[in-house]
């Protein structure tokens, strides 16, 4: 369980997150909704202590530095070494968790081998996303954060990814942010949202609330 206590974050005088208290449950899929620029990515940065913040965040009662090796963030822009091949990137970021053969096996489920041998600079946005998703299978983190993961993915890949996320949730605590609500509707267990600069839990059991993310967004966020 990830606990956020009195979490506040501001840039200069602009408050982005204001004294928020909530818990992200283990082995569940949590989703944070909010308009552009509300601070969804900033929240992930705070979770990873990549930004200074006020308050306290714990991961199963431990601080971030005790669990870093169990965390993985798939950023929206999927940073990789663009002058190196996809396979080399996965070998580098895979931290020796898997052999080269295993990495190729995992990666070829999402991308063709010929493409994996090419430099990442030749990849499309969606192909970079697929490469980043292969990293999830390689590192198998305990805490997985995905920032706008559905952006740039083709229809087939989105279908596959939904199944993957459900499967990963059996062993991982997954936190998602995004805007393509239709993609997330079937996935979300707990729904969080930004309300007056505070992150609040809107639905603890979203699937049983009978509403879609679009409806909730329209009704409660406006």
């Amino acid at each position: 369980m990830i606990q956020c206590m009195d979490l506040s974050k501001s840039y200069s005088k602009k408050c982005v997150i204001d004294k928020s208290n909530f818990e992200i449950e283990s082995n569940k899929i949590s989703f944070l909704m909010g308009a552009n620029g509300t601070g969804k990515t900033t929240f992930i940065k705070c979770l990873m202590k990549m930004e200074n913040y006020k308050g306290k965040i714990t991961f199963d009662c431990k601080n971030i530095n005790q669990v870093r090796e169990k965390c993985l963030v798939i950023w929206d822009d999927c940073p990789f070494y663009t002058n190196l091949s996809g396979i080399t990137n996965l070998m580098l970021f895979g931290e020796n968790k898997k052999s080269k053969k295993q990495i190729i096996e995992i990666a070829t489920k999402r991308l063709e081998y010929a493409l994996l041998k090419n430099n990442v600079k030749t990849y499309s946005y969606g192909q970079k996303k697929k490469l980043a998703l292969a990293l999830v299978e390689i590192l198998q983190p305990k805490y997985l954060f995905m920032d706008e993961i559905s952006n740039g993915l083709d229809f087939d890949m989105m279908k596959e990814l939904k199944d993957d996320i459900k499967r990963w949730a059996e062993t991982m605590t997954i936190f998602l942010t995004g805007h393509q609500f239709s993609f997330y509707n079937e996935l979300v267990d707990s729904l969080f949202a930004f309300k007056d600069e505070q992150i609040v839990l809107l639905e603890e059991n979203f699937s049983s609330c009978g509403e879609t993310l679009e409806e909730i967004y329209d009704k409660r966020m406006h």
Binding site: R68, W75, N83, E95
Partner: protein, 312 residues
């Protein structure tokens, strides 16, 4: 996890080819020293032969002059050499000694004051800007804290600088042996092996340690410039200007301190020479180098700790 992070950084340096580029660049610069030394032997030998022919064609007593001493008088227009046949014979012997296996490594290390700031500065710059350029810092700082990643980058820089220096010395030494053997076909080496005993100011270990210190210092400075400017080109231009363009700024200038210590550690028998530094002392020179190293390290650590992984 730290072990894995070190492994990752080292593999990053290998895959990005920066270690190979630095190694090739350093070996090429050592190669220039070899080439210059080879030419110095050939040129001075030709000058010697010219005088020998002059003696023979004019029926002069070569042997008696060769037993004498030479004298070089420097004046405004240049220099005047008294008994040049001895001067050139000794010069051939001196350059042959510099090209010989006994002195090769020392001569490469003498060039540390000239080449290492740029070569290892580039290495440091590359290591610090590579993740900034590819925005991969925000991936790496999820799995490791910024301070751990910064410390690991420093450590790998230390390891890689040492490895690159040693490998470049070994490669250049092997090439140097071949060059030295090739001199036998152009110059009657045995005739010129000097009776002068070339003394050494310090042991080879001290010379290697000094060379490594300069490599480490400038890789650290390069690293800090990379963190500061987030741009490799600006960093390279800065190091280039400081090393080759801006004149010495006095006894507290890092270059003065390095030159002062280099003059004490090396003998400069071969083609490498550095101008006499402004007068300073061991304590002052050592302190300046230490302070430069510490300040550079502190600046990079502070920026690393304060700056966001997204501030690329």
């Amino acid at each position: 996890m730290i072990k894995e992070c070190i492994n990752q950084e080292l593999r990053c340096g290998i895959n990005s080819k920066i270690y190979y580029i630095t190694l090739i660049l350093l070996s090429a610069l050592f190669g220039i020293i070899l080439f210059m030394n080879y030419n110095a032997v050939i040129d001075t030998h030709e000058a010697y032969l010219k005088y020998e022919n002059y003696y023979k064609s004019n029926g002069l007593d070569l042997e008696s002059d060769l037993k004498g001493e030479y004298k070089v008088e420097k004046h405004k227009g240049g220099e005047r050499i008294e008994n040049p046949i001895v001067y050139y014979k000794e010069s051939v012997g001196k350059y042959l000694y510099s090209a010989s296996p006994k002195y090769l490594v020392s001569e490469f290390l003498e060039a540390s004051t000239l080449f290492f700031p740029l070569v290892f500065g580039i290495l440091g710059l590359f290591v610090s800007t590579y993740d900034i350029r590819h925005k991969t810092l925000k991936h790496k700082t999820v799995r490791n804290s910024r301070s751990v990643l910064g410390a690991v980058k420093h450590l790998t820089l230390m390891l890689s600088s040492f490895a690159i220096l040693i490998i470049a010395l070994i490669i250049s030494f092997i090439i140097g042996l071949i060059v030295y053997q090739s001199l036998y076909s152009s110059v009657p080496v045995a005739d010129f092996i000097s009776k002068t005993a070339y003394t050494s100011s310090s042991s080879i270990i001290t010379k290697i340690a000094f060379g490594y210190m300069i490599a480490l210092l400038f890789s650290e400075i390069g690293y800090t410039l990379g963190i500061l400017f987030k741009n490799m080109t600006v960093g390279i231009v800065t190091i280039f200007l400081y090393t080759f363009v801006i004149p010495d700024l006095g006894s507290f200038d890092l270059r003065t301190s390095i030159k002062f210590l280099a003059k004490k550690v090396f003998d400069f028998y071969g083609v490498v020479s550095i101008e006499a530094p402004i007068n300073t002392s061991y304590i002052k020179a050592g302190s300046v180098i230490l302070v430069a190293f510490v300040i550079s390290g502190i600046i990079s650590m502070i920026i690393t700790a304060k700056r966001s992984s997204f501030d690329c």
